[in-house]
Symmetry: D2
Subunit: 339 residues, 4 copies
């Protein structure tokens, strides 16, 4: 920790702060600068108390307190310099091949799901997405088919050979969901529901962690740390748009997350352009950008009839749209030297 003093502090005030630093287990090291005196408090920040309270304790003396250590460990590149790869039912995420996860926002019916599954498989997707338990802003909106939805996903998997990803909404469903899915998705609204993260980790299945609506990169990495520190090393991050002042799009897809996650972490990074912009007509451009920037996988909403969708119709591609997109992506996948 670095403690910056205000200017013109008395020796007595300085001594009181230094004593408090020692009492909290750090060794203080003073540096007298030109305009400010600065104290380096030496000690492991991950195992000691934060010194940020010094500002409140000595408001006339301490100007600011700055941590120097990164707070995440297991998800960091330092802990694991090489890229991690994740194996979901034989599909490898984080390797040379860019994986495409596609399917409807919500599982609505057998026909809807199977039609979509077959179409996306034919177009080149390897993983089927579909929500069985749906978190909805209003209690009066469609909440998903629940267990019946999970069974339909299993049926579609059997019929097509696609792996399956679906969202876990409740600790109480962890066992049930894990029984049917190959990847457990944690949604943006639960990205800091730490109990749910622990429950997801404990299923042993690969976990896809969406970024919360207003989550800083560091907080996202730390949420991932909950998965790895609970014994599950198969974690991937998924950028799905952050909340900003812009109203043209539903969210602002922060594609800088791709190089940043690659720089800070060994875990794969997935992009969800459907949630990310909330407008189907922008999905193709966002996918091209994501691929060019180094994303390991794409998560795309596809529906046989978007206008009839029970949720988020405006952001789902139709089947033909998805086929066209997969063709358009080819030159970009080649340009990054992947498959």
């Amino acid at each position: 920790m670095i403690i910056v003093f205000k200017p013109n502090i008395t020796k007595k005030d300085e001594a009181a702060v230094l004593q408090e630093i020692k009492r909290l287990g750090y060794r203080p090291h003073i540096m007298r600068g030109v305009a400010r005196t600065v104290v380096g408090a030496i000690g492991d920040e991950l195992t000691h108390k934060s010194l940020e309270s010094l500002i409140a304790l000595f408001p006339q003396v301490v100007e600011s307190v700055m941590p120097v250590q990164k707070r995440f460990k297991l998800v960091s590149r330092e802990a694991h310099p090489a890229n991690s790869t994740i194996n979901a039912r034989g599909i490898v995420i984080g390797g040379r091949k860019i994986q495409v996860m596609a399917g409807p926002c919500s599982v609505e019916s057998e026909r809807q799901l199977l039609t979509t599954a077959e179409a996306v498989k034919a177009a080149g997707a390897t993983i089927l997405r579909g929500g069985a338990f749906k978190p909805r802003t209003s209690p009066y909106e469609f909440q998903g088919l629940g267990e019946r939805g999970l069974k339909l996903l299993a049926k579609a998997r059997k019929a097509t050979g696609l792996a399956v990803i679906t969202e876990l909404l409740s600790e109480d469903h962890a066992e049930l969901v894990a029984e049917y899915t190959d990847i457990v998705q944690i949604g943006a609204r639960n990205a800091q529901n730490f109990q749910l993260l622990i429950a997801a980790a404990k299923t042993g299945k690969p976990v896809l962690l969406k970024r919360g609506l207003s989550m800083r990169i560091e907080e996202w990495l730390l949420a991932g740390e909950y998965v790895l520190s609970n014994g599950n090393s198969s974690l991937m991050f998924c950028e799905r748009g952050i909340r900003t002042f812009e109203t043209y799009t539903r969210n602002t897809l922060d594609l800088s997350a791709v190089p940043i996650i690659k720089q800070e972490s060994h875990c794969p990074i997935v992009i969800d352009p459907s949630q990310g912009c909330g407008r189907a007509e922008l999905v193709a451009a966002m996918c091209k950008g994501a691929v060019a920037m180094g994303a390991d996988a794409l998560l795309i909403e596809v529906h046989p009839s978007p206008a009839e969708a029970l949720s988020d119709g405006g952001q789902q591609l139709c089947l033909d749209g998805f086929v066209a997109l997969m063709a358009e992506l080819k030159p970009f996948i080649e340009a990054v030297g992947r498959e």
Copy 2:
């Protein structure tokens, strides 16, 4: 729903959209304006599918789709024109008296909690706050004493007669937490954890719902709707700061939430200035503003020794600071004609 057409649309395109509107259960009503043709789709938006998918379905024809109904019902002033009051162990929130909920961020020890409880009671607080289960950004930070913390809260309640509020973090703890607390708190990070909201509602205890870090007012009201629509009418909203670009404060306390919640809803509104600004030296000013603007209660973090706190030391008042604050608030409470 209002559907706005792009300019210069053919009759055929128009007819196709109208047919789709009918198919989705609405009755279309056309208005030909000077620059745009607009369609009113008549039908209850709460029971019909959204028409927002029309933009994706007819990208060359439909420019925008705007809902006209408010999506929340039970929390609205329309449903219940008078102010609601909430009774927590005899303490009435939403009445003439402004209630003060005070106590440490985390319950840390019997001595810390009892000292604080007695001090805040003596200064005029009526409800004791204290976290037993703590949601922490990092898995390496103090996670709370759990059930032992709940027991200490019960002990402090017995010793002082204060009512108790503590946070519920997990559906699995709902019964346990409800056994010990008088008000169930839902934290900002779980404000759209709908399963937890339902579990909290079902305890039958009053629920305090904090605003999520980037939650719009409408989404907050809809999250409250999950509580009321699950059979619990004792709901209060708590503004605790939203996330913005500003870095001087930890969050931006949005005090406009006070008159807005009063305008839109019958439920009481509570202000948490400790989380709201994250800096103890700003708490007093924020409390004065909150009281002047009509808040029904304040939720304030108080610790006998903030620098030693196991969480959020920088935003907790010391005991003397709290006593001084309570005295300073008096003229403002009188100015709003409350007690």
Copy 3:
């Protein structure tokens, strides 16, 4: 400046960074911590180059660079511990009396302005506001009456004795505007138009600097520094709402700006609740909060017939509304011990 090294750095890499620090004029001081090595670069940050480029120059070695000095000087409390007061045509801002600046968003006609001026004066306002040059999002919206508006303001001043505040939009108008106004207003969209700030400073008139839509406190103080460092010490800051994700209000009025500006600066702080929330029905509550928190003045939009206003009708109070507000504010002004 504090430079934090990545872990496991070679001596050679370390030496290269230290040499660069010296070359840029700082004296490096090494602290070896438990998990990180940190270098304090000793030297005046205001007169030396920033070391932030070290991250780009040594990406494998330097993890982060943190400045320790505050960048503002003349606006700071350190430079001038007592509160500053500003005298505008005999009206003192920043003293015991809370001043109210009221009037229409735009000057529209002699009748509109004089009616308003007389009404706000009778209700207790001491300064007349009114836009003659209007910055409008669209070129097709009313741009103000220009010089004719200034002349009407002067006429209203003569008729009522109120001081006048109006916005300066262009360096080229500085002399003209200064001829007619008692306070020069810099609007939110020009808050970092530094040439305009310098021109405003050079008029010698008191300057009211609105906070930019997404300006951090530090940037706002630094923009104020442009005024003071150009020879004008009569500066006041005006919070008028920041841009956030919330759409219920036009902006989010950040009332924490009141205690923060008071803490960091000696300059008076003014609150503009009309722009701040963009909804007339919220103005009264925001004013009460602002007064309770210590604001020195209020800037309120008032129009004899808001629905006919040529700009921002939705946020202007009618004359009766303003009279009622002034009466409602009295107990809060007393509660803060002011007039």
Copy 4:
């Protein structure tokens, strides 16, 4: 305009609103829905007063008012369905060739500028960027070389044949800057400095309009409208990152601006990844994404010795870094079928 009534409105209240709508020049058209009555106010919104004031005027009756027309005209695709191209000294922006504008943040010396100009030309850039007048957050930071900087740009242009782009900061410099530059840049902090936009337009030179830090797409298009409606049709938009809650990057580069500007407008779109993320190590990835998504040009900061730069050293590429980037971009340029 669409006016939504609150439920259970009396006939008398309704009549009063309808009369006001008529008085403001619109023809009201009533639609009685299931839950709400809605009025379409028929009339050209661009030439009539906004009806948003109805909410303030009839707070118990009117729930919301929604405009239906887009406010921008000349920049829109509707006004000019084909892509516009811009010619700056023979360099065409918006055509098949993706143009690269490169150079230092600030012009610092003849040697620095000429070295950079030659290097970026050799690597494939066609336009030289460099700030002569610099807008700086603090008055104590380097403010640019002014006219001497412009002369150095002219010299570099003569030596290399590159076209030149530089920022216009003040109306008073418009003539001077136009004399030396081929493209006039309007910076983010001046994006709604409408007087400056008009002055830039009137120079007759192509204008590059950066997006303001918290500017919505619609506001950006309307700011562009100030250029086109003042007789200058050579406008390009430049996304340079918006301000969000994220602190890892200096700004959040919103690459969705590329497809959105292409959809709404005929003007070219340029991406500035240097300002956009503020970290040199992320620039390459952002450029690849921008190219893949359809950007017409890139604006990249390059400096012979970033650590010695007088401004923004942390985000400038070194000469070798720029050469490497240009090579890396080739496959992506081919993938979009451009040059």
